[in-house]
């Protein structure tokens, strides 16, 4: 188990190289979808900040559609994750910190979608903006923790 985890992490880090060489397992489906989801949430923070500085409804609309798109992607990622598990595709280790972090980001984004569905200025300022920021912080922390753990495992393994 430990041995195997080391190998997969190594291939993950050197992704570009691994693409050229045959792998023992196929690339996971869900990873790309997770990246899309995260990108949408980051985008929503950007449009929220813009709206806060320049309250034109256009930015508010961008935000809510970006959040919803992020949630749809997260839903698809969950399905893809299940397919990956069932299909025996490679899952990056350790998986739990990531899963918990992403789940938290999605949960916050669901709340954020409701706040962003309010009418007018208070759909964004202050609660919506705070939530969008918090989601990005959670995503960054998740990535940082996952990376640190992966590094530790690799060194320790």
């Amino acid at each position: 188990m430990q041995q195997h985890a080391t190998i997969t992490e190594a291939t993950f880090i050197h992704d570009a190289k691994s693409r050229l060489t045959p792998k023992p397992r196929r690339r996971p489906l869900h990873k790309m979808l997770v990246s899309f989801s995260a990108a949408y949430f980051v985008g929503a923070l950007a449009t929220d900040i813009t709206y806060w500085q320049m309250p034109d409804v256009l930015w508010e609309r961008f935000s809510i559609w970006l959040i919803v798109a992020g949630l749809v992607m997260a839903g698809l990622a969950t399905i893809a994750y299940a397919i990956d598990l069932a299909g025996g595709r490679r899952i990056d280790r350790p998986a739990w910190p990531r899963a918990i972090g992403y789940a938290l980001a999605v949960l916050l984004s669901v709340i954020n979608a409701f706040v962003h569905s309010r009418d007018g200025y208070t759909a964004v300022v202050p609660t919506g903006l705070m939530l969008s920021g918090l989601v990005v912080v959670v995503l960054l922390l998740t990535a940082a923790v996952a990376m640190a753990l992966a590094h530790r495992q690799r060194v320790g393994g």
């Binding site: 739990w96 979608a113 409701f114 309010r118 009418d119 007018g120 200025y121 300022v125 922390l141 923790v145």
Partner: protein, 452 residues
């Protein structure tokens, strides 16, 4: 893997979980829905609770069940019967000088989807019968058979565009489509108009057209038309540019079609009437949503020339709405408090100042108001026709229930009252856009009741 789980549990989770709970609490705290007694919000001094912002806006629409063999309930001394049934979403009524009744069958244009919320709202409203096909026509009813139904029923005017208000001046019949006032030639006794109309003026219509009904009232001398033009949003969420010349009562010059804003800041003025004693203009208005079950009370008010009534910046005078930025303190300072609150979310869509003599004496001076009923409040509010007594040209007491029973015991909607009119013999007519019926209320005293 166990190792990782342990780390995330010990270090990350509690802090994040605490954050999550805090944030969720922030939002959910707005969910406490303690709707007060609507009676506290009727009259000149409604109790206005603190504003609240929802995490999840409440949607409580009454499921449509239809009337079956039931009829509405009426107050003592009155009786009610179905004048005619089988309409397509009848919204407003107009009585011609010869006694013919015009029934405007209309529904709003298709709402655009600008936000994910619009998809959900559209879906919920479809349960309340709001998505009925737009007939875009006016049906004429004439005379009365022994059973109380009309002797003649014809399509009076067809191929309109979400019509609502109607006004006859001499031989000119004006119909307020959602995007313009049309003039049609009318001869006394005519049962169908086939002539093409002439546009008097454009009115603010699409592409959003959030509040689409355009109420219409001619001045007593016939020189001016007053038009109720609703806002293009709940609270400016479509941008202030979309509100140009909306949330206002227009005064249109009948000869030239030129207009000026007679009064502004009235979110959705859905009915206009002259108060018979003072000759002043009165309006009913639908106020804003999503800041609580008891905010903001809809109202009945006299309309002052040049008056500003708050929307979107404030309500009931200087109560600021934080959802609109930038604010306009200059306008808010001048905001007029409406005369008479009808309580929150009742959705008044029809008003008739009673000048007839058929109904019992206690209805001889005052305004009937058709309350379509709430869609975002628990318990439901409205779904009835009330009477606001007037004395000396001002409301003089609490609103009384006149026609009820639009909801059954399970809070399902048999129908929903909309436009009102007083017919030639003094009966009160009620358009019911969910029951697809026009009801006639008359005195139960056989000496004065004319139709039964």
């Amino acid at each position: 893997m166990n190792h990782a789980l342990k780390i995330s549990r010990s270090a990350k989770l509690p802090r994040l979980a605490a954050l999550l709970v805090t944030v969720a609490g922030l939002g959910l705290s707005g969910c406490d829905d303690h709707a007060g007694d609507p009676k506290m919000q009727i009259g000149a001094n409604p109790v206005l609770p603190a504003l609240q912002q929802y995490f999840m806006p409440p949607m409580a629409v009454a499921k449509v069940v239809g009337w079956g063999t039931e009829t509405p309930a009426v107050a003592q001394g009155l009786q009610v019967h179905a004048l005619a049934t089988g309409f397509q979403h009848p919204r407003s009524l107009y009585v011609l000088p010869n006694g013919d009744v015009l029934v405007v069958e209309s529904n709003g244009p298709k709402a655009p989807i600008d936000r994910p919320k619009d998809i959900i709202t559209g879906w919920v409203q479809s349960f309340a019968g709001a998505k009925a096909k737009d007939a875009n026509r006016i049906t004429l009813l004439r005379g009365s058979k022994p059973d109380g139904t009309p002797e003649l029923r014809t399509v009076f005017l067809d191929h309109l565009n979400s019509p609502f208000g109607v006004a006859l001046v001499g031989h000119d019949l004006y119909v307020a489509n959602t995007d313009g006032i049309m003039r049609f030639p009318y001869q006394d006794g005519q049962t169908s108009i086939t002539a093409a109309g002439t546009k008097l003026t454009d009115l603010p219509g699409g592409p959003i057209d959030h509040h689409w009904t355009k109420a219409l009232l001619a001045s007593p001398d016939g020189s001016k038309l007053y038009v109720g033009v609703g806002s293009n949003s709940n609270i400016g969420e479509n941008g202030i540019g979309a509100e140009y010349e909306r949330a206002a009562i227009w005064e249109v010059d009948r000869a030239s079609g030129a207009h000026r804003i007679f009064a502004s800041g009235i979110r959705n003025p859905t009915g206009l009437q002259w108060e018979p004693e003072t000759g002043k203009l009165w309006a009913i208005a639908n106020e804003r949503d999503e800041i609580g079950p008891d905010l903001v009370p809809d109202y009945l008010t006299s309309v002052k020339d040049g008056g500003f009534y708050g929307w979107p910046y404030s309500y009931y005078g200087q109560h600021l709405d934080p959802r609109i930025v930038p604010q306009r303190p200059d306008l808010v300072a001048s905001a007029i408090v409406p005369d008479y609150a009808l309580s929150s979310h009742v959705a008044p869509l029809g008003v008739a100042m009673y000048t007839g003599t058929d109904l019992p004496a206690n209805y001889r001076s005052g305004a009937f108001v058709g309350e379509h009923g709430s869609w975002n409040r628990t318990p439901l509010n409205g779904y009835k026709v009330v009477f606001v007594p007037f004395s000396g040209g001002r409301p003089s007491g609490p609103a009384q229930d006149v026609v009820t029973g639009f909801l059954d015991a399970n809070n399902h909607a048999r129908g929903r009252p909309v436009g009102l009119a007083v017919d030639k013999s003094g009966g009160l007519l009620i358009a019911d856009d969910v029951g697809n019926t026009v009801w006639r209320v008359s005195s139960s005293n056989p000496h004065s009741a004319s139709n039964n």
